[in-house]
Amino acid sequence: MKFLIFDAGPIISLTMSGLLQVLEKLKKDFKGEFIITNAVKREVIDRPYKNKKYKLESIQVQNLLDKGILKLSSEFVDENKLNKETDKILKRANSVLQTTYNKKKIKLIQEGEATCLAFANLCEGESVIVVDERNTRLLGEAPEKLEALMERKLHTLLDFNSEFAQITNKYKMIRSTELMYLAFKKNLLNLEKDIETLDAILYSLKFNGTAISSEEIEEIKRLTKK
C-alpha cells in the first residue's frame, strides 16, 4: 500500500489557492491513500471551523474527508502507537540543535509535523510526506544543513547533534508545489495547460505559505519546457 501523507501547511496553501479539489482528481489516479493525522485534522478542520473567517475552508476539507479522498491515519495505524512514536520523534527532532552558549535546545518541529513522520515510520507500505515547512523538510532530508541555516537566522552559535539527526534523516518529502506540478502535467486542473497557468499556480501556493523560492519556481517551469 502507498500513502501520501499531508501536513497541515499544504492543505492550507492548496485551499487558500482554490486548488483543494484537485486532490480529488489526483486521488483517482493514485493507487494508494491520501492521509491526514488527527493532529493535522485539528489544524485544518476542527480549529478553523470555530473561526468564521476560515469556516468555509474547514468545511471544504471536511468534505474531502467525508468523500474518502482524505483518510484519517487512525484507519491504518493505532492512535496510541502513533502518539508514542510522535513523542519519540518530537524528543529526537527537538534535540538536534542546541545553543552553544547555554545548551538551550531549539524546537524545530511541532506535533502536526511529527505525527506525519510518525505515520511514515509506522505505516506498512511506501510513503511520501507532503510538507511545505522548510525546517521539517531539512530535518527529514538533510538535518546537517539546518545548523548553518538556523545559526544565520538566530544570530547565535549552535551545536549539531548528529546522533539525533541520523534518526530523523530518512523521509521522502515533496511540497504542495510539486504535487500541483504533477496535476498540471496530468492535465487535471481544468485550465489551459500552458506555462502561464503553471506560473500562476506555483506563485499562488508560494504566496499562501509554501516554502519555495522564486529560483525554485523557475526551475520547475524550466522542467516543463524540456
Binding site: K104, A142, K145, H155, E178, G209, E219
Partner: protein, 197 residues
C-alpha cells in the same frame, strides 16, 4: 502552590532582561516615546526566538502594541484615554515587580489581565486598540517566523491560527535565501511522478 522564585542561571538572566525591558518601556510610555518602545520590542523578539517561551513573546507584543498606540496621537484625545492610560501604568508596575522577583507565571497573569481589559474595552478607542493588538500579534509572529521558527511553532507561541499566518508567510522573502537542498527540484518531481505510477 507558591511559585518558584529562583530558576536556573539562564532563566534568571532572561528574567532580568525582561525586567530591564519592562522598566525602560515604562519610562518610554511615560514620555510617550514610541520609537524607543519599538526598539525595545525588537530586542525582546530576538530573545523570544532563542528561548521560544511565552513571556518574551507576550512582552514583545505588548511593548510593540503600545508603540503603535502612542504613535497615534489622536487616540490620546479620546474620552476613554485617561482611564486606559492609568490602568496600563498601574499594571505595568505590577509586571515589573513580578519580573524583579523572577515570578514568571505572575508576570504572565498580569499581562493576561491587560489583554482582558483591552478585550472588554468598549467605544472607538477599544476597537482601535484591539485591532492594533491583533496586528501586533501577526507582526511578531511574522518576525519569529523570519528568525527561522517553524510556522506551527510560531502559531502555537502566539496562539494564532496557521491559516492567518499562511498568507503573511507568503509575503516574506525569507525563502529567497539560497539553501543548498539535498534533493533538487528535478529529483523531487521524479519522486512524486514515480510514486503515482
Amino acid at each position: 502552590m507558591n511559585e518558584k522564585e529562583f530558576g536556573s542561571f539562564e532563566e534568571i538572566q532572561d528574567m532580568s532582561n525582561i525586567s530591564r525591558i519592562l522598566k525602560e518601556s515604562k519610562q518610554a510610555i511615560l514620555v510617550k516615546d514610541w520609537m524607543k518602545l519599538k526598539n525595545l520590542s525588537n530586542q525582546t523578539i530576538h530573545s523570544a526566538t532563542i528561548h521560544q517561551d511565552p513571556v518574551n513573546i507576550v512582552i514583545a507584543v505588548l511593548v510593540y502594541s503600545f508603540s503603535k498606540v502612542l504613535q497615534r496621537e489622536s487616540y490620546q484625545r479620546m474620552k476613554e484615554w485617561d482611564l486606559f492610560y492609568k490602568y496600563i501604568l498601574e499594571n505595568w508596575d505590577l509586571m515589573i515587580n513580578a519580573s524583579q522577583k523572577n515570578k514568571k507565571q505572575e508576570l504572565l497573569n498580569y499581562a493576561g489581565e491587560i489583554r482582558n481589559y483591552l478585550n472588554n474595552m468598549t467605544g472607538n478607542l477599544g476597537e482601535y486598540i484591539k485591532d492594533i493588538f491583533r496586528k501586533a500579534e501577526i507582526n511578531k509572529a511574522f518576525k519569529l517566523y523570519e528568525h527561522g521558527i517553524s510556522s506551527a511553532q510560531t502559531a502555537e507561541l502566539l496562539g494564532i491560527s496557521l491559516w492567518d499566518l499562511a498568507s503573511y508567510i507568503g509575503q516574506s522573502n525569507i525563502y529567497e535565501t539560497h539553501v543548498n537542498n539535498k534533493i533538487s527540484e528535478k529529483q523531487r518531481i521524479k519522486l512524486i511522478e514515480d510514486f503515482f505510477k
